[in-house]
């Protein structure tokens, strides 16, 4: 192969090229935040034309569950009502972002849409958090609706505690990393949907989110300790019913550990590259 390239050498280029460097602290923090804002904007743009549809659909499942619990006669007192309504709210908060991320990652990888992010100086954690944030924001109406309707219908009093804000935040992020992992391992959007359905079944029927902990068989009581939804439900119930703060903080700590662990695993497993 002949390569007459001497005329192509450009002595000015290396200095200019190497002058570009990733920002150091503190501008790295500013860059991180600005990138996060822009990723939020991209995700918001995905749903801005039909966001109201998502909010309405998000409310349907909690309403259906409460109607079922009411008319089946299984919810007869305010305490059980609080259990059901808060369990419903947790279902929305935790499952919404997880399912959304699972589908988005599976779909994005299937169609090489993630190449856009991979070719930019952004981290997988930023993309994951931005996607989870937007999903979480649109789940809040469903969550509040579930508590409001439940309180009115089942007659339980609500004692709002400001700690509900970090509870909501951590609950919505607690399984985001698991959603990313599932999206990465799924061979496509269909497998991702199957995974979402399976997790939903476990959380609804085999964990103390809608079913009281005492009613579960022993092995499920043990298994439920491995699910962040159990602690999210306990923390949310606590922040609505006047539970002592140390106990709520203990649940928050466990939620934080699940959130960090799943996000670490999810972003570690998330390979932009699909071969």
């Amino acid at each position: 192969m002949k390569e007459g390239r001497d005329e192509l050498r450009n002595p000015d280029m290396p200095a200019r090229a190497l002058a570009i460097k990733p920002p150091d602290f503190p501008s790295a923090v500013r860059h991180w935040w600005r990138a996060y804002e822009n990723l939020l904007f991209i995700r918001w743009a995905n749903i801005r034309n039909e966001w109201y549809f998502g909010v309405i659909v998000g409310m349907l499942f909690p309403i259906a569950i409460m109607i079922f619990m009411k008319f089946s006669g299984s919810t007869t007192d305010p305490a059980t009502g609080l259990y059901v309504a808060s369990g419903n709210a947790v279902m929305s908060l935790v499952m919404g972002p997880m399912q959304s991320l699972c589908n988005d990652m599976a779909w994005g990888r299937q169609r090489n849409d993630l190449d856009y992010f991979a070719a930019l100086p952004v981290t997988k954690l930023q993309v994951t958090l931005a996607y989870a944030t937007v999903s979480g924001i649109f789940i809040i109406p469903a969550m509040l609706f579930s508590i409001g309707i439940g309180s009115w219908w089942f007659g339980f009093p609500v004692k709002w505690n400001p700690v509900i804000i970090p509870v909501m935040l951590l609950a919505s992020l607690s399984m985001a990393g698991l959603g990313v992992m599932a999206g990465v391992y799924a061979r496509g959007i269909h497998q991702a949907n199957m995974f979402n359905s399976a997790v939903m079944l476990v959380v609804v029927f085999l964990s103390p989110v809608l079913i009281p902990y005492e009613n579960l068989p022993g092995f499920l009581q043990v298994a439920s300790r491995l699910l962040p939804t159990s602690y999210a439900a306990a923390a949310l119930r606590g922040s609505l019913s006047g539970m002592p703060m140390p106990e709520i903080l203990r649940y928050l700590g466990l939620l934080l550990a699940f959130t960090a662990g799943f996000l670490y695993l999810g972003t570690k497993r998330l390979d932009w590259r699909i071969d």
């Binding site: 192969m1 002949k2 390569e3 007459g4 390239r5 192509l8 050498r9 450009n10 000015d12 280029m13 290396p14 200019r16 090229a17 190497l18 570009i20 460097k21 990733p22 920002p23 860059h31 600005r34 990138a35 822009n38 990723l39 904007f41 991209i42 743009a45 995905n46 801005r48 034309n49 994005g108 169609r111 090489n112 849409d113 993630l114 190449d115 856009y116 992010f117 991979a118 070719a119 930019l120 100086p121 952004v122 981290t123 932009w272 590259r273 071969d275």
Partner: protein, 319 residues
Amino acid sequence: MLAYEVRGLTKVYQDNIVANNNLSFDIQCGEFFGLLGPNGAGKTTLVRQLMGLSEPSSGQIKLFGELLTGSTIDRIPWYVSYIPQRLGAVADLTADEALRVTGTLRGMDYNRAVKQAAELIDEFQLGYLGKRRIGQMSGGEQRLVALCMGLMASRPIMILDEPTNDLDPSYRKQVWEKLKEINQTRNTTIILVTHNVLEAEKVLQRVGIINKGEIQAMGTVGALKAQIDQRVRIDVRLKAESRDYVSLAFLRDLKDIEARTLSSQEVLLLVPRSAIQQVVDQVISNVGLMYVEDLKIVTPTLEDVYLQLGGGEKLERGA
């Protein structure tokens, strides 16, 4: 200094499909480098590997002298601008939003990103797209938006995958001129994959021809042209009504030329430069000017290089 050093790069997909086989080459800083090859040749896999989007099975890539490994591939986007062929991630953004967001994600200040986005939209006359989302645009419009996104927050290296696909001729010309301009004025190293060989010839400084995952030829356009058949090609196309009156049998008697009949009305002649005048005269006198639909004298082009060295045998295809 070298922008990229590629050594022994191999990529084997599942089912033992070899996309790249032991590729080794350098790309100089400030070069305008073109990667040519037929569909499935391994070009896109190669540029994805240069961007760190596809993990090599073996071999190594250095960017500005630094070996790209698991921990250093995150730095690639600070030095290299690449916009993938599919814009699914930003399909719900308008053109100006996509440009602004891409600029700020590359570290630009918001106001500077807005200004550059407006300048590019103005330069490429994309203002008419207004609030139309990228996903609703035509393929050509998406290409132009992708190119503009690639130009945001100028990087020392720009990688483009089929930048002129789906574009009409006037936009293609504008894109080539823009790329040439940024290569010359900003010294941006440009690496592009294209099938548009004839147009690319005008701007590319060096070319790599890849086929079946292997580099078939690499060098400056002039050096590659020198490697192929230096005879001039004369394409003759006769009018349809000539069928009953004209015979091309006389071509067999011409010395030192190679004639290939492509159809009853088309013939291709390979002629030494010294015999061009004589052959053209012979054709016109034997056929009659009234029956000649078209007669073209073509010197070797990059397309010939591509087809003879990498993409197959052009003459037999009669392209």
